[in-house]
Amino acid sequence: MSFQYLVRRTGTFLLVIVLAVSVNFLIPRLIPGDPIEDRLTQLSATSSGGASIDIAATAAAYRERFGLDKSLVEQYLNYWWDILHLDFGYSLANYPETVGASISAALPWTLGLVGTSTLIAFVIGSLLGGLLAWPRVPRALRGFIPLLMVISAIPYFLLGIILIYVLVIVARAFPAGGAYTFGSTLRFDLNGIADVLRHATLPAASIILAGIGSWALSMRGMMISVLGEDFIKLAHAKGLKQRRIFLWYGMRNSLLPQLTSLALVLGYVVSGSILVEVIFSYPGIGYKLYQAIQSKDYFVVQGIVLILVVSIGFALYVMDLIYPLIDPRIRYQQA
């Protein structure tokens, strides 16, 4: 990997971050009106007591407290300072909880559930897609193709609802929601882990089932075109074993575009899988985002969006760095 390449990609990544943070800073300030005065007017109008407060004076006090009396440039620099210290302010809905604390409580659940399920779906889906394109595969497996198309067409939340109905309400085999048994404290022993896994099974299953189909279909398409290449013919002529041709010639080349999609999808993981988390009341980022939007908790929404942008940017950045290692043709490409 050339040094130039590294510098350029790092530069692009940093630029994305700067832009994201700046937009995040600017948008609320572009909204006309003064949020503090508005809020205070609203409060005084709704408060039943007649004790009228000096709105202008109070607003000035708050403005000073939040640093809103300073110039825009100063505010912008302060904003950066806070961000670099992972300080996203307070949650409006759950004051005095900070946005940082709120997000970091939810993030591990999402990373564990959505991240793992996405990876599992990718691995199974890609392998299945590759096999479906392989001519020497038992015909029975081909029967999967229409099934996969159907499954990938069902939205994953619908799949979740079906799973809940069948396995929770009818069969009573799994808990209906949450990340662990309500009321119990989270422990890192065998029972605790088993409990967490039991709660994660259904939401994970709905994400995996829904994901496998599309991964398999796109992989199958790639694999079919790769298998038509001349180097596959030469591989057969060389007398290589089927398994080697499948893995090192077919899969290896078909996986390249899949990995780009995977990077994007993994970047999105931090936003959680909103509908699945909501349906299973799973305490991840998606659920948090849903709640924050419901309660107009702007700071939390802002924090999540910022993290989302940064993590997608980061995932693509990592992908760019890894890609030359997995596809030697990219190495000298000036892009």
Partner: protein, 328 residues
């Protein structure tokens, strides 16, 4: 005469299409002597590639070998199991591919693409020996040793084709099939690559079947030339006689159509269209285009017969039998 290394007997290959079987190879027979260079020519669609792939048993759906035998050292390749055939490929019967541009796996170094040949055939030379052999093979095809550490996209078309030749001779095969091995290269590089192929072929004393359109290249390279028409071998003769005294009317027209520098004349093609392999003409497949066609041609398909020593032709003009036989 030496015993042939490869004998092809009455080979039939069909593509099973919805419209019916396309008879791409229709009863081809020939022998190949050890170390011999056989050139196969014929217009596009005459079944050369199909036959080459059939010899390696590498045809894919919807092609099917419908009959015949391919004897390599007396063993019928068509009767082997897929695993037995896999072991023969490249070990005893190897191939130089046509598309030099993407015949190599883009994500593997040349070295690894060569090592896997040894591994697939149960030869596991140790690391130092492997290095030495790969380096030696590359040098033999006129490349530097360090090409082994490159990726295909870092090589030119000619270099890639040399790598393919180095791979094809890695296990010292008895027969090498080369289907238009230089058609993707410019003329200068073409000659160089052909010289390389000729040189390594001589070293190994391997027989080569070279498929191509370029009659000039064929004249320089081949010992014998086989002419294919509509899935059949219509003439097979030593290269000098093919050029000096072609016997089959199709061969005669093929030779006449070669442009020459001395004599500037109107380009002469072969009139008429290539026959359909789905519904081939009755009798001799060439009779609708043949200027010399006569009574038996539309009904009786002439067999490939030896007219002079080492000269074979499938044409009633040169056949004794048809004059006596009324039915074939």
């Amino acid at each position: 005469m030496t015993t042939p290394v490869l004998r092809v007997q009455d080979l039939h290959v069909h593509y099973r299409t919805a419209a019916g079987p396309v008879k791409a190879v229709n009863g081809v027979s020939f022998d190949l002597a050890p170390g011999e260079r056989l050139g196969l020519v014929g217009e596009s669609g005459s079944g050369k590639t199909t036959m080459a792939l059939a010899l390696m048993r590498m045809l894919e759906q919807p092609a099917r070998i419908e009959g015949g035998r391919v004897l390599l050292d007396g063993v019928d390749l068509l009767a082997l199991s897929e695993e037995q055939m896999r072991r023969i490929r490249f070990d005893r019967l190897s191939m130089v591919p046509q598309g030099a541009m993407n015949s190599l796996n883009p994500v593997m170094r040349i070295r690894d693409q060569m090592i896997e040949i040894f591994n697939a055939h149960g030869r596991h030379p140790d690391k130092a020996e492997r290095r030495e052999r790969i380096g030696h093979l590359l040098e033999r095809v006129g490349l530097k040793r360090d090409v082994a550490d490159r990726y295909p996209h870092e090589l030119s078309g000619g270099m890639k084709q040399r790598v393919c030749i180095a791979m094809a001779i890695a296990l010292r095969p008895q027969v090498i099939i080369a289907d238009e091995p230089t058609s993707a290269l410019d003329v200068v590089v073409q000659r160089q690559v052909m010289e390389t192929l000729g040189a390594v072929q001589k070293d190994l004393n391997a027989a080569v079947i070279l498929v191509g359109h370029d009659m000039g290249l064929m004249a320089q390279f081949a010992d014998r030339i086989g002419v294919m028409y509509a899935g059949r071998l219509v003439e097979l003769a030593p290269v000098r006689q093919i050029f000096s005294a072609p016997q089959h009317p199709y061969t005669q027209m093929l030779i006449a159509s070669i442009p020459s520098l001395e004599e500037k004349r109107l380009f002469k093609g072969i009139p008429g269209v290539a026959p359909s392999l789905l519904n081939p003409p009755s009798g001799c497949p060439f009779h609708p285009r043949c200027p010399a066609a006569f009574a038996p041609c539309p009904t009786i398909n002439p067999a490939l017969e030896e007219t002079d020593a080492g000269r074979w032709v499938a044409c009633h003009l040169h056949s004794e039998a048809v004059l006596h036989d009324s039915r074939a």
